[in-house]
C-alpha cells in the first residue's frame, strides 16, 4: 500500500484516522519536511500506542525529539504513514487536542479578565457603600450639634433668672457650636449633599437676638422667640435628612416571599 502524506499541525500529539489495519513504528517515517522550513528537523513521529484496528479508529501519534528552539512554535508538519496491508488512511484531521491546545491559551486569559472585572465591580460597590456610611455619619454629627444647640437655647430662654447663664456665656457657647456646625456642613457639601436647606442666619438670629435683654422681656416674648428657633431647627434637620435620602435612596427587595413578613 502506498504511503500517504499526512499534514498536521505540530503539537505534542496528533491523531490520524485509520480505516483499518494497524499502524506500527516501522510504518511511520520521521518527518521529512516541516512547514516553510527547508532544513530537516531532528524529530520523529511515533504512535503513542500500538493498535490493531478492526474498525475505523483514531491512532494517536506524537512528535518526539524536538529541537528546543522550535518546541514552542506551531508548525505545519508533514509526515508519512505507511500503512500495512489492508489499511487505508482516510484522512487527517485536526484533533480535539488541537482545539484543546487553543482553548488552553484562551481560557486562562478570559478567566483572568473576568476576575479583574469582577474585582472592579466589587471594589466600586464597596467604595459606594463606605461613602454612604461616612456621609450618614456626618449627617448624624450635624443633627447632634443641632440637638445641643436646642438644649442650650431652651435652657437659656425658659430658665428663671437664678438658673440662667449670662448672655455673653450663652453667645460664646452658641458661637462655638455654630463654628463646628459650619465646618461639618462644608464637609457634607463636598459629598454632593445640598446643604442650602440649613439657614444658619435665621437660627443664629432666633437664638441670640435680644438675649442681653432676656430678663427684661416677658416670658411670652421669650417663649415666642424660642418657638421660632425650634421650628427653624426642626425644619433644617428634616430638610437635611430629605437631601440625604435624595442622594442615597434606600433600596428594598421587590418580592416578598416570606408570608410572616407580609403579615
Amino acid at each position: 500500500m502506498p504511503a500517504e502524506q499526512i499534514n498536521f499541525l505540530f503539537t505534542n500529539s496528533q491523531q490520524v484516522h485509520i480505516d483499518q489495519g494497524s499502524v506500527e513504528t516501522p510504518s511511520i517515517l520521521p518527518i521529512q519536511k516541516v512547514g516553510n522550513l527547508r532544513s530537516q528537523i531532528n524529530t520523529e513521529v511515533i504512535p503513542i500506542e500500538q493498535k490493531s484496528l478492526k474498525t475505523p479508529d483514531l491512532v494517536n501519534l506524537k512528535v518526539v525529539n524536538i529541537k528546543s528552539d522550535l518546541s514552542d512554535q506551531n508548525l505545519d508538519v508533514s509526515t508519512q504513514v505507511n500503512p500495512v496491508k489492508n489499511t487505508s488512511i482516510q484522512h487527517c484531521m485536526n484533533t480535539p487536542n488541537q482545539l484543546y491546545n487553543d482553548l488552553s491559551v484562551v481560557i486562562p486569559i478570559v478567566g483572568l479578565t473576568l476576575v479583574i472585572i469582577g474585582w472592579r465591580v466589587i471594589y466600586k460597590n464597596a467604595k459606594k457603600i463606605a461613602t454612604r456610611a461616612e456621609t450618614k455619619s456626618l449627617v448624624d454629627d450635624i443633627v447632634k450639634i443641632f440637638n445641643e444647640l436646642e438644649s442650650l437655647t431652651v435652657h437659656f430662654w425658659l430658665s428663671g433668672r437664678q438658673n440662667r447663664r449670662d448672655a455673653d456665656e450663652f453667645i460664646l457657647l452658641i458661637s462655638a457650636k455654630i463654628q463646628t456646625l459650619t465646618s461639618r456642613i462644608k464637609f457634607l457639601k463636598k459629598r454632593n449633599i445640598d446643604t442650602s436647606c440649613i439657614n444658619l442666619a435665621a437660627l443664629h438670629e432666633y437664638m441670640t437676638l435680644n438675649c442681653e435683654d432676656v430678663d427684661r422681656r416677658t416670658n411670652e416674648q421669650n417663649r415666642e422667640q424660642l418657638q421660632l428657633f425650634l421650628e427653624e431647627s426642626n425644619r433644617n434637620v428634616n430638610d437635611l435628612y430629605s437631601e440625604y435620602q435624595k442622594r442615597y435612596s434606600p433600596s428594598f427587595t421587590r418580592f416578598k416571599f416570606n408570608k410572616k413578613y407580609k403579615e
Binding site: 453667645i171 437676638l209 438675649c211 442681653e212
Partner: protein, 109 residues
C-alpha cells in the same frame, strides 16, 4: 475698598447692644468707629467689615444694632446693601446683616 477689622480696630470680644451693656457694645462701635469712617470716606465707597479675627463670634443683637442702627440713623438701604460687605468665619453674617437692614428699613417706614 475700606476695610474695618473689628478685632484690631475695636475689640476681640464685642458684646451687647447699648453702651449700658458693656464697653464693647454695638452702639459704641457704630457711633465711634463705623459712622466716622463712613462720613470721612463717603458711603459710595465700598466698605468691608471684617469679623473673622473676633474671638468665636458676636450675637445677633450686636449686628442688628450696628447695621439696623445705620438705617435708623438715616443711611439709605440701597447704599448700605450695595457698599457694605460683612466677612466672618462662618460666612452667614453678611446674609444676616442684609436681613437686619431690610427689617430696619421696613420698620422706619
Amino acid at each position: 475698598m475700606i476695610v474695618i477689622d473689628v478685632a484690631n480696630d475695636f475689640s476681640r470680644t464685642p458684646f451687647g447692644r447699648y453702651r449700658t451693656d458693656g464697653e464693647n457694645s454695638a452702639e459704641r462701635f457704630r457711633v465711634d468707629i463705623l459712622e466716622p469712617k463712613i462720613e470721612k470716606n463717603n458711603i459710595h465707597e465700598d466698605f468691608r467689615i471684617d469679623f473673622s479675627k473676633v474671638a468665636l463670634g458676636v450675637g445677633s443683637s450686636f449686628l442688628e444694632e450696628v447695621f439696623g442702627g445705620l438705617v435708623r440713623d438715616g443711611y439709605s438701604k440701597k447704599d448700605l446693601l450695595k457698599h457694605i460687605t460683612v466677612v466672618d468665619k462662618t460666612e452667614f453674617y453678611d446674609q444676616q446683616v442684609k436681613h437686619f437692614i431690610e427689617v430696619a428699613c421696613q420698620q422706619n417706614k
